[in-house]
Amino acid sequence: MRPLPRPTALSRPFWDGCLDGRLLVQRCSSCARCFFIPSVFCPHCLDTDYEWVESSGRGHVVTYTVVWRPPTPAFDPPYVVAVVQLEEGYEMFTNIVGAEPDADLIGAAVQVRFHRESEEIALPFFELAPATGLRP
């Protein structure tokens, strides 16, 4: 089984949101920009006031790679490691599920799909958004 995150006090709201089927992100109370991974201050303006808000869970693939030689036998290749940029402007690592290994995914519209991995953890995978095609 793949290694699962061990939430910290800082990241707990994110992982609790995933269990709820909600992709949460920190939004700076000062400049209103969203940021990820969890941080105690806004990387855009350094303000320490933020709130957790729900992302649309929609975005596009900035880049990706199809992994054929996994780091450990816990992973079942081939699988797609991607960088997705969410509509709120922040980026995150994820796996794209349900895509053909030879598909060209750069720029593809995707949406979050949670998968329950354990009692405590659901992971935010992404899948191709239906019938939207490539973003302009």
Binding site: V62, T63, V66, R69, P70, P71, E117
Partner: protein, 378 residues
């Protein structure tokens, strides 16, 4: 010349091999230090500063080795091994902070689990590990994006790996000596690791140690070997590794400002460089360096490196010992190997692929750049 000019007076690699049975990170690292001091004609008692990374002991390696070497009080460098630690040590020497510095790293006996990739390639933080990321996937992300953006023929990237592996095939000190020659087609025919990287686009893994000794040009005048001056350098980071997405937008120009500063400090031009000892952890990175360092325009790198340009007979020879792809890759000390090979080229003592009378070498790893020049050339 500066009043205190930092120079490299010792450079040494231990034997490198897939496995060095009976060795540990500490034994290969200490052997490398002995070798480099011997090459310099100096003794442990002469050493006033260290930056040593045995195995993966990032926290305490320098202090552990400084103490173990019996130096009562020592300057301890903190930069990563290779171009970065050379620049840091040279800066300290030129500022009068310390006089004789040993830089070393080595690894043996750590990568034992054949079912998994090397331990230093497997990040463990909570937003990375669950996605099956490891070093080749991390570096594949920017390469994939670049190749998509500029519609790059994969054979042009594979050509880089073929050139470097063929350098190593001719080097009797390389772990993969005699393995070759390779064509771009051979690289593309190897199994895929993390698209666009095939097995032969990637670094290998091996064991061994490497070390350098730096001091002042004044001190070097009394030493037997040819000194190599640190002409200039620069150092850039973009963020913690395996934490934030390394998109092309984010990492593509890593090292550009470092190179600009290195050339400005050295007072030389791009075209004055005779040999390019670049960190070849993945094939496309070599193309990235030439673009980031302004040797060609962005998107022009695949054509820049084509043909014979980066072969040892070309105008821009790269990685002349075979690098991480063929010579050796130990986790960290391979970045010191780039400096060792540059020094040996400039001294005319390369084990293979010796260039005719090179005077200036560019050494780079990720965002760290140093320019080295044979002392008699200044």
């Amino acid at each position: 010349m500066r009043s205190r000019q930092a120079v490299i007076v010792g450079a040494f690699n231990t034997r490198q091999a897939r496995r060095l049975d009976g060795e540990t990170s500490d034994t290969v690292t200490s052997a490398a230090i002995r070798g480099a001091l011997g090459d310099a004609g100096l003794d442990v008692a002469d050493v006033t500063g260290v930056n040593v990374l045995p195995g993966l002991d990032y926290q305490n390696g320098s202090r552990k080795f400084g103490y173990a070497m019996g130096i009562p009080y020592f300057w301890a460098g903190r930069a990563m091994p290779g171009a970065a630690s050379v620049l840091e040590a040279a800066t300290a020497i030129e500022a009068g902070v310390t006089d004789v510095v040993v830089l070393a790293a080595g690894e043996a006996g750590i990568h034992q689990d054949a079912a998994s990739t090397a331990p230093w390639t497997r990040p463990s933080n909570e937003f990375i590990e669950c996605w099956g990321l490891m070093t080749p996937a991390e570096f594949a992300l920017s390469a994939k994006e670049y190749m998509h953006r500029f519609s790059v023929d994969p054979a042009k990237v594979a050509h880089v790996a073929a050139v470097i592996r063929n350098n190593g095939a001719r080097n009797p000190e390389a772990v993969y000596y005699g393995r070759g020659p390779f064509s771009a087609e051979d690289i593309l025919a190897s199994r895929m690791v993390a698209d666009p990287y095939h097995l032969l686009d990637c670094a290998t893994t091996a064991e061994g140690g490497s070390a350098l000794v730096l001091t002042t040009a004044e001190r070097a005048r009394d030493l037997p070997g040819v000194a190599v001056a640190v002409l200039g350098g620069g150092s850039e980071s973009w963020g913690p590794s395996y934490t934030h997405p390394p998109t092309y937008e984010r990492v593509g120009m890593l090292g550009r400002d470092a190179a600009d500063r290195a050339f400005a400090r050295a007072g030389i031009a791009r075209e004055d460089v005779d040999v390019f000892e670049l960190y070849d952890n993945f094939s496309w990175e070599i193309i990235r360096y030439f673009e980031a360092f302004r040797y060609c325009g962005v998107g022009e790198g695949p054509d820049f490196v084509a043909g014979g340009a980066i072969e040892v007979t070309g105008r821009y020879p790269v990685v002349t010992d075979g690098g991480t792809m063929s010579h050796s890759h130990t986790g960290e000390s391979q970045r010191i190997q780039r400096v060792v090979q540059a020094v040996r080229q400039l001294r005319g003592s390369s084990a293979a692929n010796q260039l005719p009378d090179p005077r200036v070498a560019l050494v780079a790893a990720l965002g760290d750049v140093v320019l080295l020049g044979r002392q008699d050339s200044r």
